[in-house]
């Protein structure tokens, strides 16, 4: 395990009666790409601001490189931020914006020149060094903001929804570039976003925030495959979430039938929720399926068909399929494997969840 570069211990923040952060415990290791993912108002940006030093937490401790920084002002913390609206200085050109932090640190002129140009090369903007900020496009401003932060070689780079103002195409390109940049620089990135696709694509590890609490943390694959609760399952990717009961270990009952599954460790007959991802469902002839549904609508999405169907209990099923389904109104079967079923308990904490998974997955 590599060194913890940022650590939040039992961090709380409230404004009057409103709690925006509740007992946040986060550890960031060196050289990894982390994402804070959550809907707006979930507290993710607050965490970023607390690490950067723009707000004081109400309780708990923040450590950067092993040093408690609660009382250290923003300008003395070894982190840098890429702001959502870029916050580039309009009275300076590109070069001067990037040089700002170096000039503050009284770096000598020759090194400033080389370091600024190097940083601009990193974001492929070295040919625009003498441009005024007002002459740049959104994507270029974004790159200047990144260059301005990385030129200082911070231990951690904080990125506050940096791509949200860009159009879809540019966003995709910048995602690749960010990931590439992080790997080349080898510094820790903490990236805030509400876009789950972005989070899944970029991160080594994701923290999912909702209601001032970290709901779940883990690798994108873990979180996608084993969401801890309804919120996470719903927020990450698309899912069919069905009420069910755990008959016994590896046996779950929903839609009036018992299915074999790969989950265990619950109480017998416990009320649970079952998640089935749309892409794990295969459309098969009615007699071969595990569930029988009637096709309602289907939309061609380019790389897949999005099919909506209803079972006899009027539950909606969302299916992603590479092939079109039979015409609307047809009865078809849905087939899925036992490991495609993921069972979630109500109100299970992340610790208990991890412990339970370990208890039977290790076998």
């Amino acid at each position: 395990m590599s060194e913890a570069i940022v650590e939040l211990r039992h961090v709380n923040k409230s404004y009057g009666d409103t709690t925006v952060l509740k007992d946040i415990n986060i550890t960031l290791e060196e050289g990894k790409f982390y994402t804070l993912l959550g809907p707006s108002g979930s507290g993710k940006t607050t965490i970023l601001r607390a690490i950067a030093g723009f707000l004081n937490v109400s309780g708990g401790d923040i450590f950067i490189a092993g040093k408690r920084v609660n009382d250290i002002p923003a300008n003395l913390r070894e982190v840098n931020t890429v702001f959502q609206d870029y916050a580039l200085f309009p009275h300076m050109n590109v070069f001067e914006n990037v040089a700002y932090g170096l000039r503050i640190r009284k770096v000598d002129k020759a090194s400033i020149e080389t370091r600024v140009i190097d940083a601009l090369k990193m974001v492929r903007l070295d040919n625009l060094a003498n441009r005024e900020i007002s002459e740049l496009s959104g994507g270029q401003k974004q790159r200047v903001a990144i260059a301005r932060a990385i030129v200082l070689e911070p231990k951690v780079l904080l990125l506050d929804e940096p791509l949200s103002a860009l159009d879809a195409k540019l966003r995709k390109d910048m995602q690749y570039e960010l990931r590439d940049l992080q790997q080349r620089l080898g510094i820790t990135f903490l990236f805030v976003t509400h876009d789950q696709e972005e989070a899944l694509a970029l991160s080594d590890e994701i923290f999912i925030m909702n209601d001032a609490v970290v709901q779940q943390s883990g690798t994108p694959v873990d979180i996608y495959d084993e969401p801890i609760n309804h919120f996470v399952a719903d927020f990450i990717g698309e899912s069919n979430i069905i009420d069910g009961r755990m008959v016994e270990d590896y046996q779950v009952k929903f839609n009036g039938k018992i299915f074999e599954c790969s989950d265990a460790g619950m109480k017998p007959d416990e009320h649970v929720e079952v998640v089935l991802r749309p892409e794990d469902l295969d459309v098969v002839p009615a007699e071969k399926g595990k569930v029988t549904v009637s096709i309602d609508t289907q939309l061609f999405r380019g790389d897949f068909y999005e099919i909506v169907a209803y079972d006899d209990g009027q539950n909606e099923w969302l299916i992603h399929s590479t092939n079109p389904a039979p015409e609307d109104g047809t009865l078809v079967g849905l087939y899925f494997d036992p490991e495609d079923i993921h069972v979630m308990r109500f109100g299970e904490s992340e610790e208990d969840f991890d412990a339970r998974l370990e208890s039977y997955e290790g076998e």
Partner: protein, 274 residues
């Protein structure tokens, strides 16, 4: 048709400009070429630039206007800055603007009452056993009252400038390692300088031609060009000479406007300012 109606909107403004700005200036310019007997002459300008008195007055005017502007700026910038972070800033701003609703003469007379030998200030100092001081008719009193009158015109543009400043830039500067003072000198001040320039224009230019205050508060010990113009038009009836001084003042104001004006267009060349 649409174009015509647009043009119609300009008519009142153009009329106003022509009648009350352009025409008077032309008249003053015209008038400045006539001597006291109504003969055409360049003598007024010769007199002006050869007379030590007029040049001293010019220097006085500029010097006092400079002092008034400096004092006003020194008070207004911090005031506007603090105001920006206040809770009920609109209310406080209103309180600062409020004195401008009161007639200038009334305010001047009020200060005569305060600064007089038996005035409020001397009475107050008397409580500490200080004998009555000569406060009225001093340079300090003149500058104080002039600054008092001009402060709202300085605070307003600066306040607006600070309000328009993006708070994110302050955070960005702190994030990049700048101390609060470095952030002020490198970000806040350069980005609010246009408000300061407007304020300086709004204060310096009227201060250049102050005349009533010089008599009421300055006791005519401070003779500025404004006083001289008043004297020529009302007392000596030498309109030609009065107009000449007026032309000099107008030229001085144009120079000030030019010096403090926005020159952002020149920056377009993308020069490298280190």
């Amino acid at each position: 048709m649409r174009k015509n109606s647009n043009v119609a909107f300009y008519v009142p403004y153009v009329l106003w400009l022509a009648l009350f700005v352009i025409a008077p200036m032309l008249l003053i310019f015209y008038q400045s070429f006539f001597d006291i007997n109504g003969h055409f002459t360049l003598g007024n300008y010769v007199t002006y630039f050869q007379s030590g008195t007029y040049l001293a007055m010019t220097f006085n005017s500029v010097w006092y206007a400079f002092l008034i502007t400096a004092v006003t700026l020194l008070i207004s910038y911090p005031a506007a800055y603090i105001l920006h972070y206040m809770k009920h800033k609109q209310l406080w701003l209103l309180l600062i603007i409020l004195p401008t609703w009161i007639n200038l003469l009334l305010k001047a007379y009020a200060f005569i009452g305060i600064f007089g030998r038996d005035g409020g200030l001397n009475n107050f100092l008397g409580l500490f056993g200080i004998v009555p001081q000569q406060l009225l008719f001093t340079d300090a009193a003149f500058i104080f009252v002039a600054a008092y009158i001009e402060i709202p015109f300085m605070i307003l543009p600066i306040f607006n400038g600070i309000e328009e400043l993006d708070e994110g830039l302050i955070n960005a500067s702190r994030d990049l390692g700048a101390s609060p003072w470095q952030t002020f000198t490198k970000v806040t001040w350069p980005l609010t300088i246009s408000g300061v320039k407007s304020g300086v224009q709004a204060v310096f230019i009227p201060s250049l031609s102050l005349f009533m205050l010089t008599r009421l508060i300055g006791g005519n010990r401070v003779i500025t060009l404004g006083t001289a113009i008043e004297e020529h038009f009302l007392t000596t009836m030498n309109w030609g000479m009065g107009s000449t001084i007026g032309v000099v003042l107008i030229v001085a104001m144009v120079i000030i406007m030019f010096l403090t004006g926005e020159r952002n267009k020149l920056k377009k060349g993308g020069k490298h300012h280190a």
